[in-house]
Amino acid sequence: MISVSNLSKSYNGVTVLNIENLDIPAGESFGLVGNNGAGKTTFFSLLLDLIQPSSGYIKNKNIIVSESEEWKPFTSSFIDESFLIGYLTAEEYFYFIGDLRGQTKADVDEFLKQYEDFFNDEILQKKKYLRDLSKGNQKKAGIIAALIGKPDVVILDEPFANLDPTTQIRLKKIIKDLDENTGTTILISSHDLIHVTEVCKRIVVLDKGETVKDIQTSQATLEELEAYFNK
């Protein structure tokens, strides 16, 4: 689904990301871990064509993302609060995203029903603009909006941060569900090793812009990761 070749990004001669080769097959749940500055967000930004690669390219379903926009209809993402429109209510935001992804209002309403638990009555009909919601609730709205319209590729940057424990558990369920019952390719970055090993079938560790580990998740993965980061 996604293939990276000779991708690098540098700012003023300092290389912040350098991935020679990385293939993410369709339907995989892919986890990206690494310390601050490892290049996770840079990688996602390159994948979404928000920054220009210094060399190499990323292909999303055989489309070079920096050359064509054809990947946009089947890719969706939630990176940070700048993916929310602060002056909209949650409903208006969902309908707007729905509009962009060819979903009618009724489609969106139907879709949102399955996430009532996840929203925990804190998102819909709250009579508040998104900018007035708490960080955690903003995140909930953003994550669910990224799932509207059955995208083939979903990219979530640090989805577990700022969420309360109950919501974290519910989010894990949603992601696992998506992974097992649909063909969605899911890319997640996280600082929480436990969560990421639980929901991702494959984990890649980035360090200073390079891939240092590429693991198919198993019972031993969490220990291996903890050992690695406890250096």
Binding site: L48, D49, L50, K72, D80, S82, L88, E92, D99, R131
Partner: protein, 491 residues
């Protein structure tokens, strides 16, 4: 303690991103400020002699006193819409060991050094001095009068703080003003006469300066109490969260593919402080013609009238349009990674601008009073705005990559948006285009041909809408990464 506060303020000022934009912008800003100061000073001196010349039988200070109530009322309205209150900045001081009263005094003191307080002084001071030098006035009276004006100005400053923070005060004042306006309009009771009498009395009895002084102190104390009582995160410094309702705006669906964007744009304008401010400013542009049309001297310079006519209907177009991608800077990454064709996005903005021109044009019908020539000019100017200015403005917008905080009022003079050389170059055709297109045919043929040429240029522009939008789209595409990077910078 105050010294430290001031040091922090200075750092905030000198390190803010707009101030580090290079020498050219600083010079431009300084020139802009000097221009306003100069204008005010000129008005002060010229005001004195002007009144003497045109109303030789009247006393200049009395004349000013008779009309100063209008100035104060206008000042109040302007401040309400334009003056930014520095309220949110006190959050970091809440938990460190500084007395609350010190922080509040500083906060209120800070509002006093606003541009809005200095500007009137640049009129009253030169006016007072000119009066003293040229007229036969008692020094003590003029000095006391000057200070009265200063205290009134500061009173309005503190009143504005309350107006912004306290709904009761806001609606109270609003009711009083509307009532007074209605009484005046239906000639039941004229408020301006007693107001003039009041200000003249203050001038005649120098000790009466105590009245505005007391008023100011009272308002200050009131503010102090108000903030002191509510000095909590969820109190006076909290952002207001009003209960809001989802607005479907289904009537916009008829615009087809552009509809989702149009809906958002409409919501953006009505739900954020900054765009509301722009809306208010563009409303003022409607009155721009009043400066030019009544004056004899401009009747022989129709190029200037063409210039003014373009502004009458172009206020929103220019003030909104020049900030086009900036309006969406807070969520630009979303727009760039979602399934959004740039064209629809641009077209939505363009449609808004065109609709605004049409509305302004309808509102400008009273200008028929100045004759059909003038109104014809306004109509031609409106067409020029729709057909050409709209595209030029959109084109210029993308070069203006300044992130914007939507729900924060712009500070007077801290807004450098639009102050870069390219932007200025792009402003030239907007201003001189209509003048030239009108003036050349006017000079060589006649007035009507000038108007027709101006109108036809606009219609031609409209005919090539698709072509222009395509070109602009290309520029936006090219600037994409630069724009994203600029918008994700800290404000």
């Amino acid at each position: 303690m105050f010294k430290r506060f001031i040091a922090l303020e200075w750092k905030q000022f000198s390190r803010s991103s707009y101030f580090q934009k290079g020498i050219a912008i600083k010079i431009l800003l300084a020139l802009g400020a000097l221009y306003f100061i100069g204008m005010a000073a000129f008005m002060g001196v010229a005001g004195y002699f002007g009144i003497q010349k045109f109303m030789p039988d009247k006393d200049p200070i009395t004349v000013v006193n008779n009309f100063v109530i209008y100035w104060f009322l206008a000042d109040m309205v302007f401040r309400y819409f334009l003056q930014q209150l520095p309220v949110l900045n006190i959050k970091p001081y809440m938990v460190i060991p500084i007395k609350r009263s010190t922080v509040i005094h500083f906060l209120l003191g800070k509002t006093s050094v606003s541009f809005f307080n200095f500007l009137p002084m640049f009129f009253f001071l030169p006016f007072s001095i000119t009066s003293l030098v040229n007229g036969d006035y008692a020094v003590i009276n003029v000095v006391a009068w000057f200070f009265s004006m200063l205290f009134f100005t500061l009173s309005i400053n503190y009143l504005n703080f309350l107006l912004n923070k306290n709904n009761k005060v806001f609606y109270g004042i609003l009711t009083v003003l509307v009532a007074a306006g209605l009484l005046q309009y239906y000639q039941v009771y004229s408020i301006t006469e007693p107001a003039g009498y009041f200000f003249n009395t203050i001038y005649e009895k120098p000790y009466a300066v105590i009245i505005p002084l007391l008023l100011m102190v009272m308002l200050y104390r009131f503010n102090f109490k108000f903030v002191r009582k509510d000095f909590y995160l969820d109190g006076a410094i909290s952002k207001e969260t009003k209960e809001v309702h989802t607005q479907e705006l289904t009537w916009l669906n008829r615009f087809g593919k552009v509809a989702p964007f149009l809906k958002n744009d409409v919501r953006m304008i009505i739900r954020n402080k900054r765009p509301k401010q722009v809306l208010f400013m563009s409303f003022l542009f409607l009155f721009y013609g009043l400066i030019f049309y009544p004056q004899e001297s401009y009747q022989d310079m129709p190029a200037f009238l063409a210039f003014a006519s373009m502004f009458v209907t172009g206020g929103f177009l220019m003030s909104f349009g020049q900030l086009v991608p900036s309006w969406d800077s807070e969520y630009y990454k979303l727009l760039m990674s979602q399934n959004i064709p740039y064209r629809e996005y641009l077209k939505s903005k363009w449609s808004l601008m065109v609709v605004a021109v049409v509305i302004s044009f309808i509102l400008s019908t009273p200008y028929i009073y100045f004759g059909w020539d003038i109104f014809g000019m306004i109509a031609a100017g409106a067409l020029f705005n729709m057909g050409l200015n709209s595209f030029i403005t959109l084109y210029g917008g993308v070069l203006n990559q300044v992130p914007m905080e939507l729900n924060v009022k712009a500070k007077a003079f801290s807004n450098t948006q639009g102050f870069n050389p390219t932007q200025l170059l792009i402003a030239l055709p907007k201003i001189f285009g209509p003048m030239l297109i009108f003036y050349l045919p006017y000079k060589f043929i006649n007035f009507e041909t000038g108007i027709i040429c101006l109108a036809v240029s606009g219609v031609l522009g409209l005919a090539f809408t698709n072509f222009f939008l395509n070109q602009i789209e290309k520029v936006y595409q090219k600037q994409k990464y630069k724009t994203i990077a600029a918008f994700s910078e800290k404000k």
